[in-house]
C-alpha cells in the first residue's frame, strides 16, 4: 500500500480544536469485520473454479482476489489503528462531527430505515411513509408527532397516487383493509 500512497501526503489531517481531549476511537472491529467479509468472499470464490477453459479467469478468481485484498486491508487497518491512526467523523452541514453520538436518536432513525422492509408489503405505502416520517422527524428532535404523521401520510398517499398513475408498481394502497 505504501507505494500507492503518493498523494495522501498533501492532504494531511487537519488538527481540529477540542477533539484532542476526547479519547480517539480505535475501531478494531472494522478491521475484524473486513477480515470476516474477506474470508466469506474468499470462501465463496474458492468454491468456484478459479480458471476457465479459454478465458483463463474463472468465475471464482475475482471474488477470491477481492476477498484476499479485503483481508489484507483489514490487517493493515488494525496495524494502523495500533499505530494511532485517527478516525474523525466526516464533516456534514447538519451534523456536529465532534458531538457525542445520540444513541436514542440514532436507533429511532434506524427503526425508520428498517421499517419499510416489513411494512411496505404488509401496510402499504401511505401508512409506512407516515410511520417512517414520524420516526425520522422524532429522531431529529421534532415533537409534533401527529402533524408529522399526517404529513408523512399525505406525502405517501400523493406519491402512491401520482407514481401509480405513471406506471410504477407500488403495491396496494392500504393492504390491511384489502384495497
Amino acid at each position: 500500500m505504501r507505494a500507492l500512497s503518493t498523494e495522501s501526503a498533501k492532504t494531511d489531517l487537519p488538527l481540529e480544536e477540542g477533539s484532542g481531549q476526547t479519547a480517539a476511537p480505535r475501531p478494531f472491529w472494522i478491521g475484524g469485520g473486513l477480515i470476516a467479509i474477506g474470508a466469506i468472499w474468499m470462501h465463496g470464490g474458492l468454491s468456484l473454479p478459479q480458471g476457465a477453459r479459454y478465458a483463463a479467469v474463472g468465475p471464482g478468481l475475482t471474488p477470491t482476489l477481492i476477498g484476499a485484498v479485503l483481508v489484507l486491508l483489514g490487517v493493515i487497518l488494525i496495524v494502523q489503528i495500533l499505530r494511532g491512526e485517527r478516525f474523525e467523523p466526516q464533516d456534514s452541514e447538519d451534523a456536529a462531527a465532534t458531538s457525542p453520538m445520540d444513541k436514542r436518536a440514532f436507533f429511532t432513525a434506524l427503526v425508520a430505515v428498517f421499517l419499510p422492509v416489513g411494512a411496505l408489503p404488509t401496510l402499504g405505502l401511505p401508512l409506512t411513509a407516515a410511520l417512517a416520517f414520524t420516526l425520522v422527524t422524532r429522531a431529529l428532535g421534532s415533537t409534533r408527532l401527529i402533524a408529522n404523521f399526517v404529513i408523512g401520510g399525505v406525502i405517501g398517499s400523493v406519491s402512491w397516487l401520482l407514481f401509480t398513475q405513471l406506471g410504477l408498481q407500488l403495491g396496494r394502497f392500504f393492504p390491511p383493509l384489502g384495497f
Binding site: R53, Y54, A55, L161, T164, Q165, L166, Q169
Partner: protein, 319 residues
Amino acid sequence: MNFAKIIAPVLFGAALAVSGAAQAQVNVMLPAGPGGGWDSTGRQAFQAMNDAGIYTGGVNFTNTGGAGGTIGLAEFLGTSTGQPDALAVFGAITVGSIELNDSPINLADFRPVARLTAEYLVVAVAADSPYNTLEDLVTALADNPGANPLGGGSAGGVDHIAFALLAQEAGIDVPELNYIPQTSGAETVTAIVNGTLTAGISGTSEFNQFAEQGRIKILGVTSADRRPDLPDVPTFAEAGYDVELANWRGILAAPDAPEDNYRMWIDRFVELSESDAWANVLEQQGWDDFFLAGDDFGTFIAEEVEVQGQILRDAGLVD
C-alpha cells in the same frame, strides 16, 4: 388547426388519471424488467385481448426480473399458489436457468395455459468471413474450437444450447466450444463485425437488418422450414444438422389453480390466438405464431426440460 389534435392531449391526461382507478381482476407476473420481450409479450397479449373483447377487465402486472425469470416465478409460486386469475409469462430461457441456478422451482408444478410466440435463431458470421456455409463454420470449429469463439445470449440460454446441439450433431465435444456470452444482441453483432467472435447467434429480428446492411452473413436458421423473410438462408436440417430450436414464450397459471378458472383462461387464449388483434400484434412485433394450449403445452414443456437439461449436462454447465 385541427381541433382533435388539441383535445387529444387533454383526453390523454384524463385517461391517465382514470386508468389507475380501474379495479384489477387478473394478476400477471412478468418475470423480467419493463421493456423486454417477456414484458411486451404479457402486456401486448392482454392489450390484444382487450381490443378483441375477449377479456376487458383490469390487469395488474408485476415486473420481477432476474435470473431468466426464475426469481419472478418463485415469487409467483409463493404468492399465487391455488389462486384463480393468476398468470405468469415465461419462456425457453427459464428452462435452462432453472437448471443452471439450481432453482427450487419446478415447471411441472405450474399449470400450462398457452405457448404464444416463438423466435427462431440464426447463426451469422462477419461479411468478410471466409465461411460461407454452416458446414464451413462447423469444419473450422471441429478443427480448432478455441480459436473460433462463438457468442450469443447468456450462458446456458437457448443461444448457447443451439450451438451446443450443433456441435453435438457435428461430433464436436461440447465443453470444447469457446462460447462467450454477450449482454445483448447488439453486442453480439458488434463482436461478430469486429472479429471478436467468429460466429454469433441471436433472434432473427436482431440479425436481419445487419445482414441487409451487408455487415454480417447469415448461415443458418433453427426453424423447421425456411423463413419467408430469409428465403436464401438454409435451415440447420438442410445443412445436415438435425437441430430445431425456438426461443418460445408462453403463459403459466398458478400451481393448483381452480380447474374451471384454469380452463377459462385456456379458452380465452385460444380465442386470442384466433383473433385479428393478436395477428396484428404478431405482425407488428415480428413474432412467429407458436400457439399450443393446455396439456399439449405441458407435454412440450416437459420435453424441453428433458432436452435442455441433457445438453447442459453434456456441456458440463450443470452436474
